[in-house]
Symmetry: none
């Protein structure tokens, strides 16, 4: 549990998850995104990817998890997120979402974080998040 | 089905979906995000939202759906997405994700789109997407 | 459909289910348990299990199914369950949950059962259940 | 992140989650338990509960979440769990699973914890867990 007063630039945390067939199916269900590159293995073989890839926003969802569960942690409210999709994620890949604090604005209850998703050490998504985090140290 | 040569600034399409309890539960599963504002009704009542809200990235996932299924359509590859979360989405809200073409770069196979998610006409997410779209009109 | 008056020690029934990626993902959703040994294949490889394993309580849930659907059957109310986790269950394993009546207390409407989950004949969970079962033979 | 050497009797942590219709449906899916008291509102009205209740093992699954994510935390392996179901949980109830360390056996890498699930402060499940936790403080 973090207080915003204790957050410092450079603090970092991460969450890793293997993206399975089931994750892709569920993401189709909740997003309605049935782009054949995600669901049609025969079509996907004919593309530049040579096979099915996971939805970019599925990997991006892991960023939400680190922010909301770990750093800053429970109570975090999302304000902004930029996402640059750099490389595909395939079923079976383990994606690590890592966030690193860049700036803390205690008065405005804002935290800016660098956000990177990677597979085997190679970035697949880069971007930046701004969140509201109002968990303040109680007065002594 | 669109050819990139036919895409024009101002073209628009949308996808709407009611965000149910089941969507929120599934998003917890694939993201790992169990932030109490999403899963704990009693905690959520004590927050500025007065009750549980859906994950911001869950609504954002609908943008992926319009891009990949409708405009530009199947074959779309995500390059960039910016997201500005403006207002909460609650279980039962119907989110409409609407994309509008801002710029088409036929040579580079790039399309830039304005992306808005709204509930009852009120924007909940604003942003911009850049996608690669290589579906070209076959030579005559 | 059983009447409690007909239940006898030694009566047995079972339910078998293959534990898929999708089951593990769903269990993450409803439990909130994203322990990396369940969701992160790279981490799991470094553990004593050599790969991802299913949540122990996911296999245990199958016991609930035999009790509530088969023996004693619909109307069963769970009172107690003990669980001893003996061996891991991996994605793709078929778990058979088997219950065997040990004791029937007709007056108190209680049934005590031995409960075993196994994979390929090898026990993965052992334990005992006590249930309330009030489905009584109607008077002649 | 905890080292087993730092764990002490009395340390406690918890996880709370609102049990929705979607959770009950998913638990039916993964357990196969379609006991009418969970899925048939008309039947459930005629029982002592006066309406549908959630599966007992669904609430018990939240214990798994606290153990695996918080205390002891990631890396926890389940060895034993006893469960005493004290009161029903209804759709919409918020269940808090709380674990409290009773005993730490550093040599054997075992931790024994008291486990309670409650709704609005009232216990619905009581029991005890024994886990293996091998995360040891690195030598100085």
């Amino acid at each position: 549990m973090h207080y915003i007063e204790d957050l410092q630039p450079g603090m970092t945390d991460s969450f890793a998850k293997t993206i399975t067939e089931a994750d892709i199916l569920m993401f189709c269900a909740i997003s309605g995104d049935n782009n054949p590159v995600h669901v049609d293995a025969e079509f996907a073989k004919t593309t530049m990817f040579g096979g099915r890839i996971a939805h970019g926003m599925l990997s991006a969802a892991l960023i939400s998890s680190v922010l909301g569960n770990r750093l800053p942690g429970p109570g975090t409210i999302y304000l902004n997120q930029s996402l640059k999709f750099k490389a595909p994620v395939r079923p079976g890949d383990t994606v690590t979402a890592k966030v690193t604090i860049k700036e803390v604005l205690v008065e405005k209850k804002r935290v800016v974080l660098d956000t990177v998703c990677s597979v085997a050490g190679k970035p697949v998504i880069e971007g930046e998040a701004t969140v509201m985090y109002a968990v303040s140290r109680p007065p002594a």
